[in-house]
């Protein structure tokens, strides 16, 4: 019985031979990662302020189901995952106005979606690498048409978010007063769920459905640890998400391991560092309060 060959293991995880060639080969993936980081980091701020982390997970499982069905029936993985996540987002949006209802609806939908996805994959006669990729991410699969669709959807999400940014913030943090001031809280909630559905669908294609949280939640959660400025937090969140994704892809290039462990590890490390910064600030009594002369 052979134990693990550590040097072999290391070269599976990190392998930088022919790195220059690989970067050129995989530049689509790197661009995809950067774009995804911007989308995930930006919408993550609202995922946090609307307390929707669990919803993201639920939508991503349905997106996985859609993608698998798309693969099985030949509709296309991108189309399938889009349909799956938008349907899930709308169901959660319409039925889950209260956070209690929402959590139970998600908990009901999620295993169903996962089961449906596994069924479709089990019936799919093609290569198994594709199947696994939907769950844990597939770095090599970003060809030109796919990159274009990813960028197009991302533009829709970012522009949509910027348009509704202020009323959505109002509705997310202060729903009663927002409604009193004439903000259409319900409409915004549905608009947000649509944008979230789109963002999840594009993320699933790169990092896989199990790990979507690492770009839609972790970077924003990390940013919120170190700032509460409504401008600094989204900027930091985007920076963290782009760092995790692009950094993860660069490290993953030569290895034979899927991309997701790299991305999730970087994203987690950033979160831990932000927590340490926050704890040390709290210890030194930095709160932002100022004495009024």
């Amino acid at each position: 019985m052979n134990g693990i060959d550590w040097s072999d293991l290391w070269s599976q995880i990190f392998n930088f031979s022919d790195y220059g060639d690989l970067i050129v080969l995989l530049q689509n993936s790197i661009i995809a990662g950067a774009v995804l980081g911007i989308v995930g980091g930006l919408i993550g701020v609202f995922v946090m302020s609307r307390d929707m982390a669990f919803a993201v997970h639920g939508i991503s499982e349905l997106s996985f189901a859609g993608a698998s069905a798309g693969l099985l029936f030949g509709v296309g993985v991108v189309e399938g995952s889009l349909i799956g996540s938008i349907v899930a987002a709308l169901i959660i949006g319409f039925l889950g106005a209260k956070s209690r209802d929402r959590n139970s609806i998600i908990a009901v939908l999620m295993p169903f979606g996962l089961g449906l996805g596994i069924l479709c994959l089990a019936l799919y006669p093609g290569r198994s690498a594709n199947k696994f990729g939907l769950l844990t991410g597939q770095i090599v699969a970003v060809d030109d048409p796919r990159l274009n669709s990813l960028i197009a959807i991302s533009i829709v999400v970012v522009v949509g978010l910027l348009v509704v940014w202020r009323p959505l913030t109002f509705a997310s943090v202060d729903a009663d007063v927002a409604a009193a001031r004439g903000v259409s809280v319900q409409t915004l909630s549905i608009v947000f769920m649509l944008l979230l559905g789109l963002a999840v669908a594009v993320s699933v294609q790169v990092v896989g459905s199990l790990l979507v949280l690492s770009i839609l939640v972790t970077p924003a959660a990390a940013a919120l640890r170190v700032s509460s400025s409504p401008i600094v937090v989204p900027l930091l969140s985007m920076l963290f998400a782009v760092l995790s994704l692009v950094g993860g892809i660069m490290l993953a290039l030569g290895g034979s391991v899927p991309i997701s462990p790299y991305v999730t590890t970087i994203s987690f490390a950033i979160y831990v560092i932000c927590r340490i910064i926050a704890a040390s600030r709290a210890r030194r009594g930095i709160s932002g309060r100022k004495a009024v002369a």
């Binding site: 202020r166 927002a178 919120l224």
Partner: protein
């Protein structure tokens, strides 16, 4: 504690005193107002005016439709019968001339929101687009923060502020857009006595300075007893309106409730004993389950005698 700071006193001195005996114009007018959910009638034939500079407390048992009255004024709920006009026109949704202060809820840690941001939402939170920093907006927010004595924690995350500090910010937020009418829905709930006093004094100061009409829904009139001009008491589908001395009397409330109710006045406080349970639970939107049981919606012995100034 910074609560009774010099800030509000200074604001007092700066304010041009409104002409107290000038004829006051009607800000809000209700005629024959009725509100009904299915076969449950909350109130009917409601007639009253709120004049500028007038502070009216809205009292009544749980489920008497106090919060629903505010929802009607905010245009979120329609009257089943009657009319309601604000500054001469029928009430509409999202009127910027009506400020709203809800009860204090501890803000969530998940949102990037500092004191100044909460106030800024009152200034332009309803507009589309991304809030790019602008000098004019910043100045307006700074002025509002100063006017409620909240400059000290302008840049502190709202989730780390105390309930009283959060309510100060809410007062500042509600004053954005220079409203004519302020609607307060249990703004003192879950605050301690000192903060109750500070927040209600702040509201009182601003209604005098700005000649604001104030409708203040509360289950405990004591923190605001010496500030209110009139009391609107909703009970048993009906109502009484008048000065606290006219309305808060045993015979008036007994008639309104249709059962014997005692109003006890002691050490400057009003305590209502023997209010029958509204029976139908809460009024559909708000759940004031922290109303100390047994005693009435006005005062409660449980809260003891607060410091009076």
């Amino acid at each position: 504690m910074k609560i009774f700071g010099a800030k509000s006193a200074r604001a007092d001195a700066e304010a041009a005193p409104p002409p107290r005996n000038a004829p006051r114009h009607v800000v809000l007018r209700v005629r024959g107002g009725a509100l009904q959910f299915g076969d449950r009638r909350l109130w009917h034939d409601l007639d009253f005016d709120v004049r500028s500079g007038e502070f009216i407390a809205v009292l009544g048992a749980n489920g008497s439709g106090k919060s629903s009255l505010l929802k009607v004024i905010l245009g979120q709920q329609h009257l089943s019968a009657g009319t309601m006009t604000f500054e001469g026109s029928p009430v509409t949704r999202g009127n910027r001339r009506i400020g709203y202060i809800p009860q204090q809820k501890l803000a969530d840690e998940g949102a990037p929101l500092r004191g100044r941001d909460l106030v800024a939402l009152g200034v332009d939170g309803h507009r589309f687009g991304f809030p790019l920093p602008r000098a004019a907006r910043r100045r307006e927010v700074d002025e509002l923060l100063a006017s409620v004595g909240a400059s000290e924690y302008a840049n502190v995350a709202v989730s780390t502020l105390s309930g009283g500090e959060q309510q100060r910010l809410r007062v500042g937020q509600s004053l954005a857009g220079n409203p004519r009418l302020l609607l307060c829905d249990e703004p003192l709930l879950s605050l301690d006595l000192a903060h109750q006093r500070a927040v209600s004094e702040l509201i009182d100061t601003h209604r005098r300075q700005r000649d604001l009409g104030v409708l203040f829904v509360t289950h405990d009139i004591n923190p605001i007893l010496d500030m209110v001009d009139r009391v609107l008491y909703l009970a048993g589908g009906s109502f009484r309106i008048g000065t606290p001395d006219e309305v808060l009397r045993s015979e008036v409330l007994s008639e309104l409730y249709g059962s014997p109710v005692d109003v006890i006045r002691t050490r400057g406080r009003v305590i209502v004993v023997g209010v029958p349970d509204a029976g139908h639970g809460h009024d559909g939107h708000h759940h004031h389950d922290d109303d100390p049981g047994g005693n009435g919606p006005i005062g409660s012995t449980a809260q003891g005698g607060g410091p009076r100034s």
